[in-house]
Amino acid sequence: MSEQTVIEAVRATLQSEMRRDDTVIVLGEDVGSRGGVFLATDGLIDEFGENRVIDMPLAESLICGVALGAAVNGMRPVAEIQFADFVWPAINQLVGEASKVRYGTNGVKTAPMTVRIPYGGGVRGGLYHSQSIEVLFSHTPGLSVVAPATPYDAKGLLATAIRTDDPVIVLEHKRTYRLVKGDVPDEDYTIPIGKAEIKRPGTDMTIVTYGLMLHYSLQAAEMAAANGIDVEVLDLRTLRPLDADAIAESASRTGKALIVQEDTPAVSISSEVAAIIGERCFFDLDGPITRLGPPELPPMPFSPIQEAAFMPSPEKILAAITKLSEI
């Protein structure tokens, strides 16, 4: 057991998975001697060499297409997209191709590939280093999408992703990389895809969230506790498939649901969570299904003032908690 940041957990997991299984390779832009722009792959090229740590040309469709080809030919590639905002050129290979390999070949071929994607804002990234890109992946049958928010979950879910025989998208919130620390066991473990986790039990209402917003929600829940409101915080952890049972159980139990996300709300993860609750918890709810997200603007201005105004914050979450608690 040791205390690690999220990025340290990611790096250690890549290393241990590469030691564990020779077919695990890492590929992406600057993953070699640069060690990745966030240093997720720092040192890997020294240990595993250029054959297994491949600095790719600047071409995301290529990165994912090559990962897919290598995956169907015996490798377990872990591709890195440098920033989520640059994944769009690869959508064709991921959403169009990888997601349907098993289905389209009637189970003859499988694509055991992992794509790690640092996403999200609050890092002065402006319109093109702040995007949340979970919607399309989370909508697509044949893909799995995980979004760990803690070092513990980062390790367990990345290990699961790499060992899974189908494509898994791993969304790492880049603001959590160094911000979030936590205990990580030294021994090997995995976390099942599709299981949410109650990160804070509570009785008065349920916050459903993921990513950086988990941490803001936990802070808001502490502030609310001081005001006598006992908030449960459910961390989705997996965005496809959503853990509908866990969502419904918690919302039914507390009777109120607040969904908090950083991504813009229209047609998003929070929409689906709301739909699940609206369909399954209808007779147990004591208040409207509430969502808190940023305004419907391209995410998100470079201006620090506007960036802060755009992002949900513990204070904004607390305000939403208070409002919902009064209904």
Binding site: P57, S144, L242
Partner: protein, 339 residues
Amino acid sequence: MLTTTNKPSDPTEQLSGTRLVELYQTMVLSRYLDERVWLLNRQGKAAIAASAQGHEATQVACIEATDPSKDHYLIYYRQFAAMMALGTTPEEMLRGFLAKEDDPMSGARQFPLHGAHPRVDLFNFSNVIATQLPQAAGVALADTLKGSDAVTIVFFGDGASSQGDTHEAMNFAGVHKLPVIFFCENNRYAISVPIEKQMGVESVASRAAGYGFPGVQVDGTDVVAVHEATKAAVERARAGDGPTLIEASVERLLPHTTDDDHTRYRSAEDIAQMANRDPIKILSELLKRRDLLTDDADAEIHAAAKKRVNVATDTVDAEPYPSVDTMFDHVVDSVGGNF
């Protein structure tokens, strides 16, 4: 009874006369089956078909230079004759077109020729043009990591040459000298878009220079020439010397698919001139000039092919469609979670 030729000669050898006749048989069988599929479409039994008519020499000769026991084949929808050359039976081909339960490629989930082959490493994940090229680079990369000397052959059309994926794949293959053959069947049309609107140069092969490997143009109606070019590329790749881009010029004798009408966009002369470039006619004439084939033997080959296609049609026509419940299989291999 005519069978398909899944027993290529030693790919390092020149083609023998006997083998040439065998390849001719495969081409003829492919042609008859291809025609039958169009007929089945007109009868409302096959939803859609793309044809390899005009591309047969190219495809059969290309496959002949490879080793199906270890090489990888990434095809698109037009490699009908290549699939025949790789030993796919007429019944298997028809099951794809008729969406029958035992369609070996995808169990009737996908268009004909899409999915993965049950016996050789041939696959075609999607209809989306040019996605197979980066995938082929990845397949080849894996072989280099495994220390295998397998070669990856990836087929694409002149239209596909315009896609970004094509460029990205060739560039990467050039950087790492990957054992991959980029095989372009240039029929001068992408549906209706003629080559002059597709690219500002005469040849796709000329692009190879920009990636650091050889580009070869070859007459795609010439079995011997295509075989030679492919053989050289295969040897190069197996020896670790890197990729080759081969461009075979062919004619698309029929409209793009059964849904298309090429008289809307091709002139009568353009259509008429293709008759001289029919690879079956050309190979038949060559074989006869070389005394490898008599008129009688040729007629027999045709009759046998026709009969073979009839038998296969009757068989497959009577076969069942897949049941509904299999539709839910093979989304992801996961326990738990509502995938």
